[in-house]
Symmetry: D3
Subunit: 222 residues, 6 copies
């Protein structure tokens, strides 16, 4: 803690000066283009990873980068996403999982959740991930099941994300893009889910999802 306070002092003395103009202009308002959703894990620093500046990334973090689907009583995730999508008009949403995720490990191995009842309840929003692993990856080793679950969970949470009204409507309009990433801590590699391949691929091979305007559907039928 003492180190943190010294760090702040050092930030104020050294880092703030060259950024002072930026910060003063940011005081008048933010207009980030990207919502970055990731785990609370201390080993992830989204700004460092993307070499981005204050003002660039609106950031939502919780244990396991989990997004509960739409309900009549919004929690922090739905509210934060709505603030970013409708309030700030971000153009891209990234859900970024990561290797060695403790939340995903707990999901697959409930013995890790003893004494953690709140975590266990929270992971109900990743129950689909668990079920996918149990019913489709049963032959893998526990370590490989964790790896698979980290990837599948990003896709499950993307599915949940699509149920939020503000997201769904912007997807129909064609001016919002969703991305599923996995960050590998030990090598700094990033993998992105490629819809056409149905696979996570290295970021440099990743093809952006097209954002097309909708095709109006009403004429065809009733």
């Amino acid at each position: 803690m003492q180190k943190l306070i010294q760090g702040i002092h050092q930030f104020q003395e050294e880092t703030f000066r060259p950024l002072q103009g930026l910060f003063e202009s940011l005081a008048r308002g933010q207009s980030p283009e990207t919502l970055f959703i990731t785990c609370s894990d201390s080993r992830i620093d989204p700004n460092l990873l993307t070499k981005s500046q204050p003002g660039d990334l609106f950031i939502l973090r919780n244990a396991g980068n989990i997004i509960p689907p739409h309900t009549g009583q919004a929690g922090g995730e739905a509210a934060t996403i709505e603030f970013a999508v409708t309030g700030l008009g971000v153009k891209d949403i990234i859900i970024c999982g990561h290797s060695h995720c403790g939340a995903v490990k707990g999901l697959l191995d409930p013995s890790k959740l003893e004494g953690l009842p709140a975590v266990a309840q929270w992971l109900s929003h990743a129950e689909a991930t668990k079920r996918i692993i149990e019913e489709n990856y049963a032959d893998l080793s526990p370590e490989d099941q964790v790896r698979a679950a980290i990837e599948e969970n990003v896709l499950v949470q993307l599915e949940n994300l699509r149920t939020l009204p503000c997201v769904k409507s912007r997807l129909v309009k064609g001016d919002l893009r969703l991305h599923g990433w996995v960050y590998k801590i030990e090598t700094a590699e990033v993998f992105a889910y490629d819809r056409i391949d149905g696979q996570f691929v290295p970021l440099e091979q990743y093809r952006f999802p097209a954002s097309d305007p909708i095709r109006r559907r009403v004429a065809a039928t009733i």
Copy 2:
């Protein structure tokens, strides 16, 4: 009501006899292949529409053919779907909206919901439909907005359906298919959503969604 009781009498006298063997064998168990989800509207008779027999269709009906997404406390919809998908192993799920749907009309015109607070709360699960119409179909007439909303709502509810763990896992496995339909009461036409076209098309032009085994994703990345 008296008419209903006479109808039952007539059913027992006339209709039951030729079906008695079927009913007796059904008493030993059911194995429907399809879960049919539709509105409670009195003008829809799923068995009549599909000329199906007792034992063929597992049927879930509520106002607006709405499916709340997965939460930690399942309601009737999630439970009924899980019973069908995991308990009975159905192969296909159809969400079937319909023309002139009162629930969809109430969604777009809240003045229709006065004195109906429970309906208003329930429609929060179709809030995405409402937002899609407001933000993408604002130029249509009210009547055409209702038509558009009936179609869009089927797609929104399909999205919700995909968040249910039992559904999601079976989709990954590739042995469950989801279908979005709209039934036009006055002409008996059925339209189905074609993923490739991004349009509802007459049922005879409808291409079935492929059910492929999953591509295992774990090898590629972390």
Copy 3:
């Protein structure tokens, strides 16, 4: 599934014609007199059972014909019932259980609910049924306990139904009637709960509950 689509074709070719006038007039609105609540079980076809026509029955179906009581956040059941009672003004509500109900079997034997967490949660709304069986029918065989539970559950759900404000108020007014039925699949028999006897009786012996205007209570006391 292919069979269903053929059935629809056959319906359009053969069945729709004689009903076309009915369907066209129904397109202008529905006015069913009865709300029929039953299980999603594929072996039940309410329209077939009652020989009723499109437009006659507003139909709510879920696993176990369960009605959660009134809460501040209505689910599909409360909304659908309010739509029928207040929106459409139905005169009668029937809750119809049935023999061999899988949901009731799961309620009494939790081992049947493994892998079905959503069903287990949903059955919390039938916990009173379970408790009634455990505390009052403990001496019966498991098969007879299922039979008893099917009947008791209809009564429990009727009790839940009475907590819905729209139902309760119409009961006080005296222009809505509630009915508890059990349908025996293998014999096509229907039994109805007779309040005076405190028993389910064959439908032909069933005495309708009177619908009296209320006695105004305020004068007598405070």
Copy 4:
């Protein structure tokens, strides 16, 4: 507050002595026969009203003597009642409303609830009462509507009470009785709801509800 502390001192000095033996034996356990549910209103003292002793009444009090019906997540009311009914085996439950009840006034006149959002949410469990008044007592003066609502609310809450599994099962068994009372503060009169009359009557005319053993229902039907 100072007065309260003096009162406690006085209680310890004067009142406790003659009751010391009772209190010492009560320290070994309680076995009240009655659960008394009433409003938090400061003008009601259930022990004074019934001249009962410590150990006689298990007492549940909240604003409006309201009992939410059974849900999967019990609140204080359901838990307290279960503790009394199943844990302590009480034989009678009384819900006792009262004249001039502020909660009921707020229910009928939402302008009284400004600045009281929690009260407004809580009163959703008395929505049936409100609806009964609006739809059945519209011709009364506001004062008489309050009177009617106080009575009707006792009956609505009795209905909610019957959905609690522990209550419902004991009612089937026939060894628990439910009573609906209204207490008139200014005259000390108590009125009880008489099921046969369908009216609240002065307590001295009140006929106890019979507690019969159940009629076993299973033989008659399926």
Copy 5:
């Protein structure tokens, strides 16, 4: 029950007369200065304990004197407290636990909660109490753990109380005081939590919490 009715008769004949003037003036409105929150336990009579009169204490009682913290959907506790604090303007809130509390015993020993699922759910609002005992009083005997839990639970519920908006705002304003008490049934002793000592002390040694006006904080910083 018969005894209760006789008690009421006796109250009306003997006790009401001298209080008639008080009751008649109370019929015009209540203005209690204190909200007294305690357990539903039959051995506690708050009015007797404090020698207070009708009109003096607004009383909230449930199993375990538990107060769930603020949520978007208020239960009976939050509503009753808001009614007292904002509606009636009480000056003091007392949470009064007691020796031999069955709810606290159940909290520490789940085997006591078999057949009491609603109580078990309700006690989730005292989970902090349980955790405090497990992690800080593990070396005590079970009896002493119950004693410690009774005290700690009063403090936990005071913490929950502080999250209610109506309470929090009045605390900032400095015109509301919160008190934590424990009542020992067998000796009629009352202990109060003294913030300065960090201990429960006999009531006669209890120093009232000061109610200071707030220090306005905004000038100092941003």
Copy 6:
């Protein structure tokens, strides 16, 4: 978005190398000492502000740095905090608000929340903040009310934090410290709430809250 991907490339090329050893050792596990809770606002970079390294800070971010209090169904905030406190054993928790917070502005001015229903629902967990401003800072200008609300909200959320069982128990044990901070974007100043002063003070004047072992309370009383 293209810029982000270039940034990642640059990170991998330039920044990762010197940190490779750190990242490889972090792949074996994290042991952060601090949980840092702050707003999702793009202008805040907790790692930059504190000059901390990957592995140092467990970070929870949502719109408004809001922490719902303990309930029986934990959301992302309670779960993430439990993961940090119980799972990882952090020693300090900082809730860090900030100047110009959009969530706080929306809280005070509901007109800013049109089209943002999820944000409005989420802000119910800051209702105490709103009420404090309305009832205690009514004389301030709107701008100063926002400033006051940013500070008060940090204190309200600290209060909510204390209701989480894992936090409360560690506070009793005396090995966890809670801190309330406000970060001023335009000057890079940090203010911390000083319990003794009852004021936010510049970080350099901030006195750490003592973490004392508990005083065992049981002996003194019952």
